[in-house]
Amino acid sequence: MVRWKSRYLLCEVNVVDRSRLLLLDDRAVAGAVKAAVARIHGDYGAALCSIRFCVKYLNAHTGIVLLRFPKSCYRILWSALPFITSVESRGQKIPCFLNCLHVGGTIRTCQKFLVRYNTQQLHRMLPKCKNEEEKQQICKAILNCTLTGKDKEESEDESENEEDEEE
């Protein structure tokens, strides 16, 4: 069997105020992407964007979005993504931009990348701890995360959030 080939774009939503990330939801991001594509590429782009485009995964805590595009036209759709300046969600306009981290052929490769990326983020954030005690607390919090049956990635996401709150 031959499957439908897609490209998965792993994007990071960058905002100024991180607490507003929690307002994001799938439909808001999908709407913003569709509007941007229609603005840049017109009706043709909007037509391409309605074939198998969807938001596969959204982590509102870390602001990670996984978008699926058809492989044949992902480049033209991707070129519209830099023109997103805000996402409208729950009646509020969140100024933000999307930063593409990884382009993968399957969700699996994107997930592998994301695990590695989040570990990297943790290492970047750890030196920002104010004192040794805080560092210990975070390390303990990571070790205490037991999500049996779920993947490793989520536990790492959680530990990041804890640290964000402490800062």
Partner: protein
């Protein structure tokens, strides 16, 4: 993964804004950025050349670049907007404070001169309005031969729809003339939210008429050659480097071997 650079961040008096710009750039994975100071001479009074703020004043610790272990490198750059030939003075002492030197010609004659004569690193083209001249092959080829690059900045395209049209028009006509070589893509961002990630910028090059490889070069290796070009501007043909000796310093002996390295890397002297 190659080294990404963004050679145009707008300077502003607002220090915290500039700081957040640099932090965002480091987060996105740019390992070198340049802060741009614009000098716009008018006919009446003599303009004051801005002096760059030292980076150490700006922030105490430079942020670490995403995916690397080094802190971000911050340079200073001066852009001279020219509407008359007298606006750009060759070898002015004030220009020496800056690491990079760029001109933005507004007439065809000055564009010709900037491409073939002036000792600059970057030629900016104001992409946000209808250009008063066409790009001709001869000056553009001359600039490519001399190692001077053209700059296309994308943040105006993000801001507004009319500006976007002009940007695409002008970028396309530039790419037609120089065939995608010697072009750098930069942000010209004023706020942190106007920056874009390096992979997004590469893909944006598709809309500017660059091929895939050329677009990637436009934010990595071409930028590097700009930096090397800027280094040789301070030397005589990239061979000899002079500096003022402070009376009893013995660090003079160390100077020559240091500057031989960039000279050896350079293929052609200016």
């Amino acid at each position: 993964m190659s080294v990404f650079m963004d050679l145009n961040l707008c300077s502003s008096a607002d220090r915290s804004g500039l700081r957040s710009l640099i932090e965002t750039a480091a987060h996105l994975g740019f390992s070198t950025v340049a802060i741009n100071y614009v000098l716009e001479p008018t006919a009446k009074k003599k303009p004051e050349i801005p002096t760059p703020t030292p980076i150490s004043d700006l922030m105490d610790g430079l942020p670490i670049v995403q995916g690397r272990s080094r802190p971000i490198r911050v340079l200073n750059r001066l852009t001279v907007v020219m509407s008359d030939a007298s606006h750009f003075r060759l070898n002015a002492a004030e220009y020496r404070h800056f690491d990079l030197l760029a001109v933005q010609p507004t007439t065809e004659k000055l564009f010709h001169a900037a491409c073939l004569l002036y000792d600059v690193d970057i030629i900016c083209i104001s992409l946000t309005e209808k250009l008063p001249f066409f790009f001709k092959r001869a000056p553009v080829n001359g600039a490519v031969d001399r190692g001077v690059v053209f700059e296309v900045s994308y943040s105006a395209a993000i801001r507004d729809s009319t500006l976007r049209r002009y940007t695409f028009t002008n970028a396309f006509s530039l790419m037609d003339t120089c065939k995608g070589k010697n072009v750098i893509l930069s942000s010209a961002a004023e706020k942190a939210l106007e920056l874009r990630g390096p992979y997004d910028v590469t893909n944006l090059g598709l809309l500017f008429g660059l091929s895939n490889g050329d677009a990637k070069e436009a934010i990595s290796s071409t930028c590097r050659s700009v930096l090397l070009h800027a280094e040789t501007r301070k030397t005589a043909s990239g061979v000899i480097y002079t500096m003022k000796s402070s009376s009893e310093s013995s660090c003079q002996e160390r100077a020559p071997p240091e500057c031989e390295a960039p000279a050896a890397k350079r293929a052609k002297p200016t």
